[in-house]
């Protein structure tokens, strides 16, 4: 071994441990650029109120994107988050209307999310179907279940106790933002500090290697989908807290935003790679963009154009900041 490579080897751990990953820095730059552009174009874009607003508006997508990131890292994808959220929402709401105490109803809702995720996980891990197709199938199936359960009608009259739980502010920040922040920290710890995090990276990065190393492949995949389901349910609780009603058609197209956030944040749909910090930044990029475009009163068609272009540009900036791999 030459001297150079030894020096390199010594330098790297310190660098790696105490710094932001390079990839996340790229995402951050993307966010800063977008914020700067809007700040220049829209007066009041950087006001504290609007910034809080952006966080609040990004919180639901961020919540979903966290779970999506874990699933993507495990080499899968979860298209069924929206309908999972819908089932959890209508069941939680129905229970509360039926008199179930709020904490129990919340638990039940999260449990439903977990169950939906579990089914996805089973089909992927044990039956061995492709994740895209499994969740494409459950995308329709779960939506149908939510619709059948409610007869297509929204469940109205969510109790005030529940709503205030998700609607207030704490330390000057909206509670949903804090909940999602807490979920992000938990996801980060899970990914970076626990065996399961390593398993997720391993299963997505090289399933065969993970198998011969004795990683419980099936269990790991299932955990990813269950977490995604639970976080989808959590997102739906935040939403019905805000809306005061649970609709069976809630969560339409959520999967695309969540995938976009994870991808902008550096997750590779090939598996084995992804970042919690990056995903959160990705969700905020998308949120800031929508907020800014609205404040600029951009017409819907052009907003759609901007959304498409921003995804492409964000990925190109990303590409440029990290170089070809």
């Amino acid at each position: 071994m030459t001297a150079t490579s030894t020096a390199g080897a010594n330098a790297s751990p310190a660098f790696r441990r105490f710094s932001f990953s390079l990839r996340d820095a790229g995402t951050l730059i993307g966010l800063i650029v977008i914020m700067a552009v809007f700040a220049a174009l829209v007066p009041g874009f950087l006001s504290e109120r609007n910034l809080t607003n952006i966080l609040q508006q990004s919180s639901i997508n961020a919540c979903l994107a966290l779970g999506m990131t874990l699933v993507i890292i495990s080499g899968g994808i979860d298209l069924s988050v929206g309908p999972t959220a819908a089932i959890a929402a209508v069941i939680t709401a129905t229970l509360m209307l039926g008199g179930t105490p709020v904490p129990l109803a919340i638990l039940a809702g999260l449990g439903v999310g977990a169950a939906c995720g579990f089914i996805n996980g089973l089909l992927v891990a044990y039956v061995g179907l492709q994740p895209f197709i499994v969740t494409l199938g459950t995308l329709s199936t779960y939506r149908a279940i939510a619709l059948i359960f409610t007869g297509g009608n929204p469940v109205l009259g969510i109790p005030a106790g529940f709503r205030s739980l998700f609607n207030g502010t704490l330390f000057g920040l909206p509670i949903p933002v804090l909940i999602v922040a807490a979920a992000s920290v938990a996801a980060w710890v899970l990914l970076k500090k626990t065996p399961i995090g390593e398993y997720l990276m391993a299963v997505g990065g090289n399933e065969e290697a993970a198998y011969v190393a004795g990683v419980p492949i099936a269990r790991t995949k299932i955990i990813a989908y269950v977490i995604s389901g639970v976080l989808a349910a959590l997102a739906s609780l935040i939403l019905i807290g805000r809306l005061g009603a649970a609709e069976p058609i809630l969560g339409n197209l959520w999967e695309l935003d969540a995938i976009a956030a994870a991808a902008i944040g550096g997750a590779s749909l090939m598996g084995g790679k992804g970042s919690i910090v990056g995903t959160i930044l990705g969700a905020i990029i998308l949120g800031a963009m929508r907020n800014g475009l609205t404040l600029m009163n951009v017409q819907a068609f052009y907003q759609l154009l901007a959304t498409g272009l921003i995804i492409l540009v964000a990925m190109m900036i990303d590409r440029a900041t990290r170089g070809r791999e």
């Binding site: 090289n206 290697a209 993970a210 011969v212 190393a213 004795g214």
Partner: protein, 508 residues
């Protein structure tokens, strides 16, 4: 004494192949047991059964006299069996330490969190037996192949296993690294650990193993005692015939085929110039990391030149991508077969034809007839086994995959063939076949560059050898100068001339 390990009439069949038929042998505690056989003989399959990756179709495995059934790799590990797989089994975005402890990381707080510090400490400890320079917290993807293979060895040492199965652990290692490993193995053996050692490098097997089982076509041919057996005898058992003792024949002409001038890359290669004659076999030797692979990749257009030029038959070509190089008659047999060589799901015939499909086509349509004729011809020429042209290449053993890749360049009628470690993981039989092939190609007028870490082979095969050091050519050796000791002397900065490779300490 109860044998540590016993195989009883193990058979394993895959769709279309019987990989193992009634294999039985025993390994004593502390024994270092070689497992020998040609490519596709079934060695890896047997070890994969031992480590719980596959289940045998019939037969049983005994550990300490008791029959065991491993449903998954975890079961085998729990039973005290560690395995070094033939192919690197690593997860790119995890660190060295995480990879080594994959599946059973040390934890704290009741198994909730990975104890990173302990993980890295123990990983470093295990690796320090062979190579102290590896940073255990670096991502595994930042390591070179040789280092990654050392990591695989280190992983097997973590477990305090009763049995360690090593499937070609040294295929990417240098002799000095093998020395370290041999020492480690001897210590393990002394403490009662049994080792099963698979290698195509006869000298290694003879040096460390006490006994060896020899396999051919999925069957056990016999168990030999290394102290009494001769290399020739063992090879005859493996191959089923005696190999000819080859001598060097030169077909080099005066005509310069390829001329490299001042080649540099942005990473390692600095200002390399040399020429290659028609019909010549040019060897390139050097330590791991000296830039041999990179040089070949530059010539083959896989990486870009940052300066310099390549001339073929007097015309400047300087390929910008492999297609330019192929069009100019250059073909590369890459170092990492699985990653850079094969299209796993495609039939072996189409893998072979991949670089020359247009030549099998008329009006844009591939002529199945022509393709099959050529595939049958060329794959027979490289002696593909089993000879099933439509079988996906991933189902072939490594050596046979390599043969198909070589056939790819025969099909493309490449005039300049670049071999990067062409015999890595390849059995003696196939190895001599490949060397024979290289000579034949040279005699037909092909110009050949061979990069190999196996010095005896480089010497026997080459008309001339370039020794690389740190991205430069340190020496050009011909004729009498072509000895292992001179090569090593030039390859290692400050090494004592005349020293034997095995005795040179690792410079790190």
């Amino acid at each position: 004494m109860v044998p540590r390990l016993g195989f009883e009439t193990i058979s394993k069949s895959f769709p279309g192949v019987n990989a193992l038929t009634d294999v039985s042998f025993k390994v004593a505690p502390g024994e270092i047991h070689g497992l020998l056989g040609e490519n596709g003989a079934g060695k890896s399959t047997l070890l994969r059964i031992l480590s719980g990756v596959f289940r045998p179709t019939s037969g049983s495995v005994f550990v300490d006299g008791e029959a065991v059934t491993f449903r998954k790799p975890q079961d085998a590990r729990v039973a005290g069996i560690a395995m070094i797989h033939q192919e690197l089994q690593q997860v790119p975005h995890l660190s060295v330490a995480q990879n080594m402890f994959l599946g059973h990381a040390p934890t704290r707080l009741g198994g909730l969190f990975v104890s990173r510090s302990e993980q890295e400490k123990r990983a470093a400890e295990a690796l320090s037996m062979i190579d102290r320079s590896i940073d255990v917290s670096a991502p595994i993807s930042s390591l070179k192949v040789a280092q990654r293979q050392i990591v695989e060895i280190g992983r097997a040492l973590l477990d305090k296993a009763k049995v360690i199965a090593m499937d070609e652990p040294t295929s990417s290692l240098t002799p000095s690294e093998f020395d370290r490993l041999a020492e480690v193995i001897a210590n393990l053996s002394a403490s009662g650990v049994s080792i099963i050692y698979v290698s195509h490098k006869m000298d290694e097997v003879f040096r460390i193993c006490q006994r060896a089982s020899v396999m051919r076509d999925g069957k056990l041919v016999g168990v030999v005692d290394m102290k009494t057996a001769s290399e020739k005898q063992v090879i005859a058992m493996m191959v089923g015939r005696e190999l000819m003792q080859e001598t060097h024949n030169s077909f080099a002409t005066d005509q310069i085929k390829l001329e490299a001038r001042n080649l540099s890359s942005s990473t390692k290669i600095k200002n390399i110039s040399f020429s290659l004659h028609k019909g010549e076999v040019l060897g390139i030797a050097g330590l791991v990391g000296s830039g041999r692979t990179e040089l070949l990749r530059l010539i083959a257009g896989v990486d870009r030149l940052s300066a310099g030029s390549i001339t073929i038959d007097g015309n400047v070509v300087s390929p910008r991508n492999p297609r330019d190089a192929i069009a100019a008659g250059i073909g590369l047999v890459p170092e990492e077969r699985k990653r850079e060589g094969i299209i796993p799901l495609r039939p072996v015939s189409l893998n072979m034809a991949l670089a020359s499909l247009p030549s099998f086509s008329a009006a844009g349509i591939i002529s199945n007839h022509r393709l099959r004729a050529s595939a049958s011809d060329l794959l027979k020429r490289v002696n593909l086994r089993p000879f099933q042209l439509d079988r996906p290449i991933r189902l072939f053993s490594g050596g046979n995959q390599q043969k198909a890749i070589i056939a790819r360049w025969l099909a493309a009628k490449s005039q300049i063939l670049l071999f990067d470690e062409p015999t890595r993981g390849i059995d003696v039989g196939a190895k001599s076949e490949i060397y024979q092939l290289i000579e034949t190609l040279a005699s037909e007028g092909c110009s050949i560059i061979v990069v190999s870490s196996e010095l005896p082979d480089v010497i026997r095969l080459s008309d001339r050898v370039l020794v690389m050091r740190d991205g430069r050519i340190a020496a050009e050796l011909t004729g009498d100068q072509l000895t292992e000791s001179t090569i090593v002397a030039h390859a290692i900065p400050g090494a004592i001339a005349g020293a034997k490779p095995g005795l040179i300490a690792n410079p790190a």
